[in-house]
């Protein structure tokens, strides 16, 4: 009846997951209770859960990503403290628990923290920058989000029911095969990642179509903001490589569930094929994360230097160059499998060639500041911290691309330090910068500057105190994923690294405080004009928060920096462009289909994990029925009346006029 599921699946004998999950469940129940008590359900359902507005979906993605970032960070704290405590000692986490933690840390950070945050910003910003009202497929967008949430939910369910994978974030067979991992942990991994991966694939399709086919009049390719180019490159990579992930995980599932022999170490199965396939997805995945971050930095360097981006075309070229070469480097993850000198040489060189594209970008950002008026606001601090951190991370990356050097530090703490160096220094710093930068556009008020700066400095210092020792430990021969170490000499550096985690915790607390303080003092941080940073691209042409239809009248772009040109003209002529004729706007209607699909995806996934076949069948049938019902609806759009559009836009215009007047007075004074 219930497959493999029984009461013994609940870890009553293991206090740490038990207490964590009880606290988690109580928190969730508390939040749900609060929502019920306050009567917020109709609002949430109407305005968020069923919303197909790209901005709302983007915010929900970011919320999901932030919560998962904290969850992943908690895992990281446990890992670092376990290693610091377990020197010639067992520590406090037995291997079967510790192994789940590092597997969950990697899985959560990549799939459920970094990806949702990146996709969230992509969602929020791209249509605004392109001057359109939504993405190409708004309802599909909602489905994508909810599928990602479904995957995240499954990972967290594994804390309380059963176990998570004990195989690392990429479950290399044969270890992940049923023979060596008979528990449900790998199954949780497979279905959580599979479900969210489908969501990501649809996001990729959606954004390729959006960027290529949904741009406002005049927005030719070479007028698109840099961020949109990076979104296009990342989405192209998603479309090209996420199917590989789907296929690979499907093959591993067939092995585990039905005794197929894709990757087994018996009957001719080929585990190395998994390694090739998973990295053919896995390496481009890193660029899927980091390219949009590069786009964010491009926007920030230009805005906060008060200058156009230096070498825009060369930046576009570098982005697309990285996009293409990213798919030709995967073998550098296993130089040490003995592929031979010729293969290693080819992949080593192709890997280091990527550094050309990245290097060009770094210099272009630096020269964007040349001749500028650099304002050290929080987003800019993150960006400068990024250059410092990422350049060093890139350097160690090229070191690892040199096969003989990789022979010494492959799979070592040096490697761990390297990829945190680029992912934290590149992606996470970029995300924090982007969130700080676009927060006013989402909520209408800025984030508190002081706490933001504190968060930055603690994060930067904490990062280096945590990971610099790991570089050295790697050179001392310490491999990754050790549950305990037997070498006393490593103690000082492991302790130092733990101190770094402490600093990072302070930084994380600062972020939370920043958010709370900003909400409490939102009135004084209010962004009245909709253009808090003196921006240059179209999202700053809208009021803050942006109305659900984004633009009352679709902009007509005349130059390379769409909004900057409009602003210059207005300042020059001391008046806004004449009021346009407002017309009704057609917007897509809300749809519960995303939530519905994800609900049944979760049920089906859970049923498959525990091999409750009837429930899996039921879930699939219900999902299909849901699609048919959705396909049957007749109303796809509704009209926003012209008066409503006019009312919103006149409010925006009056705020801008006030700003213009102020600027004019300033101009007269000087």
């Amino acid at each position: 009846m219930f497959g493999k599921l029984s009461w013994s699946a609940i870890p009553l004998d293991q206090p740490i997951p038990l207490i964590t999950s009880v606290v988690l469940i109580l928190t969730i129940l508390g939040v749900l209770g609060l929502v019920t008590a306050k009567g917020w359900w109709p609002y949430l359902w109407r305005e968020w859960i069923t919303s197909v507005d790209h901005k709302r979906i983007g915010i929900m993605y970011c919320l999901l990503g932030s919560v998962m970032l904290i969850r992943g960070f908690a895992d990281a704290i446990m890992m670092r403290s376990q290693q610091a405590l377990a020197i010639n000692a067992p520590g406090y986490l037995p291997p079967e628990h510790y192994n789940q933690i590092f597997s969950a840390h990697g899985t959560i950070m990549i799939f459920f923290a970094a990806m949702p945050l990146v996709i969230g910003l992509m969602n929020f910003v791209t249509p605004l920058q392109l001057g359109v009202r939504d993405v190409a497929f708004p309802t599909l967008n909602s489905v994508s989000f909810w599928l990602t949430a479904s995957g995240a939910l499954l990972v967290n369910v594994s804390l309380f029911i059963g176990e998570f994978a004990r195989t690392g974030w990429l479950p290399y067979p044969p270890l992940s095969e049923a023979t060596y991992s008979p528990g449900v942990g790998v199954d949780y991994y497979l279905w959580a990642v599979q479900i969210s991966g489908v969501g990501t694939l649809m996001t990729g399709i959606n954004f390729v179509t959006t960027v290529l086919k949904m741009r406002c009049p005049g927005m030719t390719y070479l007028r698109m903001p840099m961020f949109c180019w990076t979104v296009l490159a990342a989405s192209l990579l998603i479309v090209a490589v996420f199917p590989i992930l789907t296929a690979t995980l499907a093959m591993l599932s067939l092995d585990r569930y039905f005794g197929f022999h894709y990757f087994t170490n018996t009957a001719g199965g080929n585990p190395m094929m998994f390694v090739n396939l998973i990295w053919a997805w896995g390496h481009p995945e890193v660029y899927i994360l980091v390219l949009p971050a590069f786009g964010i930095f491009s926007e920030i360097f230009s805005t906060f230097s008060g200058k156009p981006l230096f070498g825009y075309r060369s930046m576009v070229a570098a982005t697309l160059f990285i996009c293409i070469v990213a798919m030709m480097v995967w073998l550098h993850h296993f130089f040490t499998m003995g592929a031979g000198a010729a293969v290693n040489t080819a992949f080593g060189i192709s890997t280091s060639i990527i550094a050309v594209g990245t290097g060009v970008k770094i210099y272009n950002w630096i020269f964007t500041m040349y001749g500028g008026r650099v304002r050290f606001s929080v987003p800019m601090l993150w960006s400068l911290g990024f250059i410092f951190t990422f350049v060093i991370g890139g350097m160690t990356g090229v070191l690892l691309a040199v096969p003989p050097a990789d022979f010494l530090v492959h799979n070592s703490m040096f490697l761990v330090a390297h990829f945190h160096n680029v992912i934290v220094g590149g992606v996470v710093f970029g995300l924090f910068a982007g969130i700080d930068y676009w927060f006013p556009k989402a909520f209408g008020f800025r984030l508190h500057e002081g706490w933001g700066k504190a968060a930055f400095w603690f994060a930067l210092v904490g990062f280096w105190v945590t990971f610099a020792p790991l570089y050295i430990l790697g050179l001392q021969g310490m491999t990754r994923r050790l549950q305990h170490v037997n070498i006393e000499e490593w103690r000082p550096l492991l302790d130092l690294s733990l101190v770094g985690v402490g600093i990072l915790i302070v930084g994380a607390v600062c972020q939370v405080v920043m958010l709370v303080v900003s909400i409490l003092r939102r009135d004084e941080l209010r962004d009245v004009t909709g253009d808090p940073w003196d921006g240059r691209s179209l999202e700053w042409a809208t009021p803050s928060p942006a109305p659900f239809f984004n633009f009352a009248v679709m902009p007509n772009v005349q130059g390379e920096e769409a909004y900057w040109d409009i602003k210059l003209r207005a300042v020059e002529s001391q008046q806004l462009s004449p009021e346009p004729r407002y017309e009704p706007i057609e917007m897509p209607v809300n749809s519960p289909v995303g939530f519905y699909t994800a609900f049944f995806a979760t049920v089906t996934g859970f049923a498959l994990i525990w091999q409750i076949w009837w429930l899996a069948g039921l879930g699939l049938a219900a999902a299909f029925a849901g699609f048919v019902v959705f396909a049957w609806r007749d109303v796809h759009e509704f009209h926003v009346p012209a008066e409503e559009v006019a009312r919103v836009d006149r409010a925006r215009r009056s705020a801008r006029e006030a700003l213009l007047e102020r600027l004019g007075q300033q101009g007269a004074a000087t």
């Binding site: 493999k4 599921l5 699946a9 029911i161 059963g162 176990e163 290399y172 044969p174 270890l175 060596y180 528990g183 449900v184 170490n265 018996t266 190395m272 230097s305 156009p308 230096f310 825009y312 060369s314 040490t336 499998m337 031979g340 000198a341 290693n344 040489t345 060189i349 990245t358 060009v360 210099y363 630096i366 020269f367 964007t368 500041m369 040349y370 001749g371 500028g372 650099v374 050290f376 400068l384 350049v391 060093i392 070191l399 691309a401 040199v402 003989p404 050097a405 022979f407 010494l408 530090v409 492959h410 050295i472 050179l475 001392q476 021969g477 491999t479 990754r480 549950q483 000082p492 525990w610």
Partner: protein, 296 residues
Amino acid sequence: MARRAAVGLAAAGLGGCARGVLDPVGPVGADDSAIFFDALMVMLVIVIPTILLAFWMAWRYRASNPKAEYLPNWSYSGRIEAVVWSIPILTIMFIGGIIWIGSYRLDPFKPLPSKSPPLEVQVVALDWKWLFIYPQQGIATVNQLVVPAGTPVHFSITSASVFNVFFVPRLGSMIYAMPGMVSQLNLQADRPALLFGQSAQFSGDGFSDMQFQVRSVAPAEFQAWAQAARGAGPMLDPAAYAQLMRQSQRVSPVTYGGVDPQLFQAVATQAIGPGPGPQPENPSHSGREVSTGGRR
């Protein structure tokens, strides 16, 4: 010379306990780390000025600096573009050369040049210990590798269960141990030393203790050790191997006085099936099967 200085500097930075990859005791490790430092130096030459330039640029053109001129429309310069593309390209061409030469010269499969014939060692990664077979000597050890100093050692490496990586940090290159495949590695210890080796690929619950002792001893001492071991102690017969394949953790070093000469071949071609994986001691633990694997 700069490199020697850098090695010394880095070694000093390791707090004097440099027993890692920066303190090699053999030619492979020495060459690997030399390449590591060559590449590092080449890049530092670029990276350090770049970081300084970034900070200087941000500081020089800060909004509060009235002395810096403001060029609000300056966004292109063909000369600078040419330079910023050529700096990384030239660096990478240089690194590419290092990669090319290094990959061929330090290919792990390539025999080491030496007057003395290499010692053959066959390595089998098991859950969770290392089996070393000395076919020329007809003996085998577990979790203990004894090699003669100054003699190249040719390792043939396979796995009888999951992926592992054979790694002796101070000897140099590591390589994967994979089921159904044989990878080769050539290493040499130049002087007698006591080293540690380990697995560098996570392989399950007992992974952390998958370490082994490496004793590099004088050739004569090695001969004496091998002769003493031969015929003494337990034999690695099929029954003993079947027992050895079962999962176990923290296995103390064992020396087998005799071994089937075809054993390695049989494991590598999977004529002997792979290790059985966890044997759940409590079948009711559904979904959370834990193998204690002799941990207690």
